[in-house]
């Protein structure tokens, strides 16, 4: 479960239940019942739509525009007016479900934010039972992970901007006589994010041991400022 977001999973299940509910309602009202597998296929084809992707609240959602699946079905049933009257509703239900899935995706955002706050390092680093540090650069000094302190301090880290250009430039790489000092010479490995968050990250530790550079899809820099 470490890799998947439980909220998104539950929300897509909710979306599916909504679909089943409406399909059942339509089915019940029909005087002439079609075969169930046919209804299933019609809904699946109906789902097929031309969409455009937009970014909302930091995630990508697919807004359906053209009901391609419905058109295809209409073309197939053009000459079978009676059957089309039966299947039409299921085809449109398939298309409308695209909107329902957009809504469930969007609803998941604030729930996620509540359960796994993005600006709190504790969301990314939760279980540290098997955690350790790796010296990734020769400028790292011999050191090991103090798990107790990490657990205690992780809630107190303050988020700071990533100053990538500055950090890059302050590392003097071109003077052969000078030792190159990496700002983040350690990596934290073997930790796990909060259960069900799906927030997989790479975590680097600053040379003084006080800052964590967290790489997820974009970077977060948390630092102990005391």
């Amino acid at each position: 479960m470490g890799n998947v977001n439980i909220v998104e999973q539950i929300m897509s299940l909710v979306g599916l239940l909504v679909l089943v509910f409406f399909a059942y309602r339509i089915y019940q009202k029909l005087s002439e019942k079609p075969k169930l597998w046919k209804v299933f296929v019609i809904i699946m084809v109906g789902l097929f739509a031309f969409t455009f992707n937009i970014s909302m609240f930091g995630i990508m959602v697919k807004i359906p525009v053209l009901p391609l699946g419905v058109w295809i079905l209409y073309a197939i049933f053009r000459k079978k007016e009676e059957q089309w009257q039966v299947y039409r509703r299921f085809a449109w239900l398939g298309f409308v479900m695209n909107f329902v899935f957009v809504i469930t995706t969007l609803v998941a955002v604030p729930i996620n934010q509540m359960m796994y706050p993005e600006n709190e390092p504790a969301s990314y680093i939760s279980t540290i039972h098997d955690a350790s540090i790796v010296h990734i650069h020769p400028s790292a000094e011999k050191s090991s992970l103090n798990k107790e302190i990490l657990l205690k301090e992780i809630g107190r880290l303050k988020e700071e901007p990533v100053r990538s250009h500055e950090w890059y430039n302050e590392t003097d790489m071109y003077d052969p006589d000078k030792e190159v000092i990496e700002r983040f010479p350690y990596q934290l490995v073997g930790f796990k994010p909060k259960w069900g968050s799906g927030l997989n990250t790479i975590v680097y530790i600053e040379k003084d041991g006080k800052g964590l550079l967290i790489q997820k899809i974009n970077f977060i820099f948390g630092r102990n400022t005391r």
Binding site: N3, H137, H165, T171
Partner: protein, 245 residues
């Protein structure tokens, strides 16, 4: 028995038989590894330019993969990589330079990566190093700043281990490599493109003589390599002193 029943029995029988055959062909346990004479023959028939003469030794990295070192007619040192596939021991790569290479036995699993080489002149080299590196990098786009720390991890070998070798990459390199693949798995396919350090990572090696000067003797060996099928063996490049942090 009616005709219909007979058909049923025959087709079920065929199904079981073909399942067994498929299992035998793709999934059965390997036969014992061929003896040296056969290995030389196989190498030379697939890649005559190799001119393999003597097999030095065979190292099984696991049940299904073997690393075989050999000496050529001209006295050069070669390497060959074998795997058990389709019910046969196949040689996937033959290399007559002996230069350090990385063998990604299972590309998806860094803990199966091996560094291999053969025939370095040990009397001219005092120490040998292997490196795992990622270039320090930064990027700013749409107001989002990204910074990838420079990575330089080293494995030093002593004099006795220099002439030829095969070893699994250190556990710490594995854990760093694994952390990238976990992050990549979490990436939504529709997400904006992000800087992934794994794409700029590489392996390297170098050597020093007894006066602690960088030594290029290992680089002078010529040779060539031949790939047959899946290529999961890559040359490890030489790391110059200027590039070392």
């Amino acid at each position: 028995m009616t005709k219909k029943k007979l058909w049923l029995v025959v087709s079920v029988g065929m199904l079981i038989l073909s399942a067994l055959l498929i299992y035998w062909f793709y999934f059965s346990k390997p036969d014992s590894f061929p003896e040296n004479g056969r290995l030389v023959q196989d190498i030379n028939s697939l890649y005559p330019e190799a001119e393999a003469a003597v097999i030095q030794d065979t190292i099984m990295t696991d049940e299904y993969h073997a690393f075989v070192r050999f000496i050529t007619e001209q006295g050069n040192y070669g390497m060959s990589f074998w795997s058990w596939e389709k019910h046969k021991w196949n040689v996937s790569t033959i290399d007559t330079s002996g230069g350090p290479s990385i063998w990604k036995v299972n590309e998806m699993d860094p803990s199966t990566y091996h560094l291999v080489w053969n025939g370095l002149p040990e009397n001219q080299i005092q120490s040998m190093n292997f490196y795992f590196l990622i270039k320090r990098n930064f990027r700013i786009s749409d107001g989002i700043e990204e910074y990838t720390p420079g990575v330089q991890m080293k494995k030093e070998l002593n004099r006795l281990e220099i002439s030829r070798g095969i070893f699994k990459i250190p556990e710490e390199w594995v854990s760093v490599l694994n952390s990238y693949s976990e992050l990549e798995a979490a990436k939504q396919p529709s997400m904006f493109d992000t800087m992934f350090p794994v794409s700029s990572s590489f392996f390297a090696w170098n050597a020093y003589d007894d006066k602690d000067n960088i030594s290029y003797v290992g680089l002078q060996a010529g040779g060539s390599s031949f790939h047959n099928g899946q290529e999961n063996i890559e040359f490890v490049r030489f790391l110059n002193e200027m590039e070392i942090e």
